[in-house]
Point group: C2
Chain length 341, copies 2
DNA sequence: ATGAAAGCGCTAACAC
DNA sequence: GTGTTAGCGCTTTCAT
């Protein structure tokens, strides 16, 4: 692996000159010399050592991304969004999967700090404890959080309250009044926001709020399945279920059908996220669309501004839309044009 | 951000001593001194700069992972597998999403080389061109490939031929003889292997091979949907469809049901991969299980051995299993125990 | 326009 | 046991 010194020797110049043409900071290099250098670089297939450069420049052009689970489409799409602007801006990302383990989160933060990332994007999971927060302290001005607003960092959010309201109002509009809700961790501000959207929409439509219609899942199809089984076994069972995310909604539908119910005739189901598969599920899933990719790209753009020292607004909230499909309105959906899907 | 020098001063020792307790290479540090140093480290919340260390050690403890699309569950799970052993071994990963663009692949390789990764895991996409191969040359002994065997690097594979054979034999066993196959890119050795498994299984069971029953999709539900529409509109239509992956299989089922067919009564469908959702689809999807997580973890283990200079076998092939669910055998599946899912 | 030399923060000989 | 010092490969003043 050749180094700058090799290039300098081959081109009969000093390493400073090579560095200059590499960074073309000041064009104070004569074009002939520059050409010689470029040729030497090509001949040797030389690539500057980013480590050495970063050590000197105190800038690695690498950012850390901390998420709970890359195999969850929601986070994967966020990562794609981050990647797309990172690419454009010349940054790379170091991925940290925490599997939602608090100590893994702390470990990740310390590690990213050691690797001297230029910034961190944090999504999902909690960073309330003392340790993680103090670990992030050093990076204070270079952290962007996705999906939380209970922590003092710039945040990219989704309007979960409005989204949940949309979902419930749709269910009410198609005739439901006993609406179940499958939530998840009470530590999640996202879950709490969706719950409060659900409650306020019920109130707005003067539906009685029934605590037994609320269950806590784990964002997986399995847990949706399990919680639906519980809800549908109750004497007071819902005619519609609002699942906290699409994956749980799939589990709900599976459970309902397994119990011999028809969806949406006997049970309407709506999810949250609009993952790609939701339009191909049978029945296709009505859901609240979350702009996951945009969440990622926006967070990276915010981080770039932050790194550049620009002022940015503390919180940015993205809108959600409702996507109505078969799981709430039935077969007639098939008559819609393909584009609606 | 404090540096080793600060720690040394605070503990009244030399930086070499600090370095020694940090790396505990030789325990030639008296326990009192070590204690002083550790206290100073804690006081200052000191973390060594991984960049400086890497520059010196010529080892970054970082590896690059190049995949086409992180939002595809298949790759996400591979990344999770890689992460899990990377964590255990103290490595971190820099993720490169190529979106299958050849020039992005080349760019990624160069970039990872600049960032001086200790190795690269490459999955999906083609690296046949001159450029990418020459770019990988420098890293020759530190590259592991997942899912290809047409390139001269250690490879972690899945037995696609056997898997496809299993799928077709199952369909034949439940009474089908007109079996469609939805493949994808002809540049993919995986696709070609699955196709050849399909063909040989047909031959083994003396089913006539009908080229019009083979379509080319793009691994997405959309493309499965589209290709199924074509297949099922033919005068000579299949009674069963073997989709190249689960996502396409979902699209196939959706198309069939939209056309008023019942699955599996009018059309049996089997996929490939066994992504988590396949057990919760309605009807649940019969499929060939691919140990994606293991593919990832095994590739990372191989890379670690490679980096350690150990000899490793050129190719390792992982077995596949068939998972039979409703989409090929129908409702009776519901009577199976939950564990079978 | 170009070169010499001083670091960036760390590790590892080599002294003592 | 502990300290001194020479790099790792690069960027960037400061001379010339």
């Amino acid at each position: 692996m050749s180094k700058i010194h090799d290039v300098a020797r081959r081109a009969n110049v000093s390493i400073a000159t090579v560095s200059r043409v590499l960074n073309s900071a000041d064009h104070k290099v004569s074009s002939e010399t520059a050409e010689k250098v470029r040729q030497a670089i090509k001949d040797l297939d030389y690539r500057p050592n980013a480590l050495a450069r970063a050590l000197q420049m105190k800038k690695t052009m690498t950012i850390g991304v901390i998420i709970p689970d890359i195999s969850n489409h929601y986070y994967a799409e966020i990562v794609r969004g981050i990647q797309s602007v990172a690419d454009r801006e010349g940054y790379n990302i170091i991925l940290q999967n925490t599997e939602r383990k608090p100590d893994q989160i702390v470990k990740s933060i310390y590690l990213l700090r050691e690797k001297i990332v230029d910034g961190i994007i944090f999504s999902g999971g909690t960073i309330n404890g003392y340790e993680p927060l103090s670990a992030l302290k050093e990076l204070r001005d270079r952290v962007v959080v996705i999906g939380r607003h209970d922590v003092n960092f710039p945040a990219i959010m989704v309007d979960n309250i409005a989204g949940a309201t949309l979902a419930v109002e749709h269910l009410v509009a198609v005739g439901h009044r006993e609406i179940g809700f499958i939530s998840w961790s009470e530590n999640s501000t996202t879950a709490m926001d969706r719950l409060s959207g659900y409650r306020s929409a019920l109130a707005q439509n003067s539906c009685h709020f029934e605590p037994s219609l609320i269950r806590q899942g784990k964002l997986t199809p399995e847990s949706g399945y399990e919680q639906a089984k519980v809800l549908l076994a109750q004497r007071k069972k819902p005619t519609a279920i609002f699942a906290g995310n699409d994956l749980m909604a799939f589990g709900v539908i599976f459970a309902a059908i397994e119990m011999g119910m028809r969806v949406p005739e006997d049970l309407a189901v709506i999810g949250f996220d609009n993952i790609p598969l939701s339009s191909f599920f049978v029945p296709s899933l009505s859901t609240i669309e979350v702009p996951m990719f945009t969440l990622g790209s926006d967070s990276m753009e915010t981080l770039v501004s932050l790194i550049a020292g620009q002022k940015i607004s503390r919180i940015k909230i993205h809108k959600t839309n409702i996507v109505v499909r078969q799981s709430t309105i039935g077969k007639e959906y098939f008559s819609l044009t393909k584009e609606d899907r």
